[in-house]
């Protein structure tokens, strides 16, 4: 039978892997079940069973860089889940950007109202997090430099000068729908990040 000390040892090991609470609970239960089975069915001692389980999970729990634009290191299993979430977030933000860019192209006045409403919504959401959800300034700072936002910013810095060169015009940057699409993308991403924060789902905010 596994002792309390054994369980603490498993917990300590998994905590060192910086797993989010949801993944931690699931992996912890899996570890306990796997070790128990090795102990009872195969008559292994706890250290042997624990070692074997760690070896089985070695690849999934290997610490890797969370994202190309992040210095944070997380377990590979967490990265897989995170990247899936990121992909979905980017798809949603891209969809909105495309719609907003099209609206801008056809009617700038309508676009202005919608964009204004979106920014207001973002601001209200931010205030809600600061006031009711105990969001700290450092957390906000982390959100502002979120890998997905940095990716968008980098892309913007690469594409914007190109649009000016390609169209070789004296037009203001404001007049290109593409620029507005980048802004929309960034605002939608931030709203989604805050939404995930409300649901306590890991999106690399802390």
């Amino acid at each position: 039978m596994m002792t309390k000390e054994n369980l603490t040892e498993i917990e300590k090991y998994l905590k060192s892997k910086n797993l989010s609470s949801v993944v931690f609970a699931e992996v912890y239960d899996h570890f306990v079940m796997q070790i128990s089975e090795l102990m009872y069915k195969h008559e292994n001692s706890f250290p042997e069973a624990f070692l074997q389980t760690k070896v089985n999970w070695q690849n999934e729990l290997k610490m890797v860089k969370a994202d190309l634009f992040s210095f944070k290191r997380i377990a590979k299993i967490e990265k897989g889940l995170l990247q899936g979430r990121f992909k979905r977030m980017m798809m949603i933000a891209s969809g909105f950007s495309l719609v907003f860019g099209t609206i801008f192209y056809f009617d700038q006045h309508v676009y202005l109202y919608i964009q204004g409403a979106l920014i207001m919504m973002h601001l209200l959401f931010l205030i809600y997090h600061f006031v009711f959800r105990k969001m700290s300034l450092s957390e906000y700072q982390k959100m502002a430099f979120h890998p997905l936002l940095l990716r968008n910013l980098l892309l913007m810095l690469l594409i914007l000068p190109l649009t000016n060169i390609i169209f070789s015009t004296t037009k203001n940057l404001w007049e290109f729908p593409l620029n507005h699409m980048f802004v929309t993308f960034s605002v939608i991403l931030q709203i989604q990040l805050l939404n995930f924060r409300t649901k306590k789902i890991n999106v690399l905010m802390v």
Binding site: A25, E26, D29, E60, L81, G84
Partner: protein, 83 residues
């Protein structure tokens, strides 16, 4: 069923032929959950949280469709190899 149980059941049903790695299983389960194919229920077992996965109605429909497709695929393969 919960994660560990799924890996064991798969191993048992395929007599050890199919060994699901945990790294492949959990991301897949979470993706299916996000897609609404399965839903999760958390229960406290011996002081630990255990996540049980269940098929949603949509998931059951998908399962039936996929099973039909697979059967037809196996049938066609069998027909080809039996020629």
């Amino acid at each position: 069923m919960y994660g560990y149980q799924i890996t064991q059941r798969a191993k048992e049903l395929t007599e050890g032929e199919l060994e699901m790695t945990e790294g492949a299983l959990y991301p897949l389960l979470h993706k299916l959950e996000a897609d609404g194919i399965i839903k999760a229920e958390v229960q406290e077992i011996n002081g630990r949280s255990r996540k049980y996965y269940l098929l949603t109605d949509n998931g059951k429909k998908q399962q039936a469709t996929q099973e039909d497709e697979m059967r037809s695929y196996v049938f066609n393969l069998k027909t080809i190899f039996d020629i």
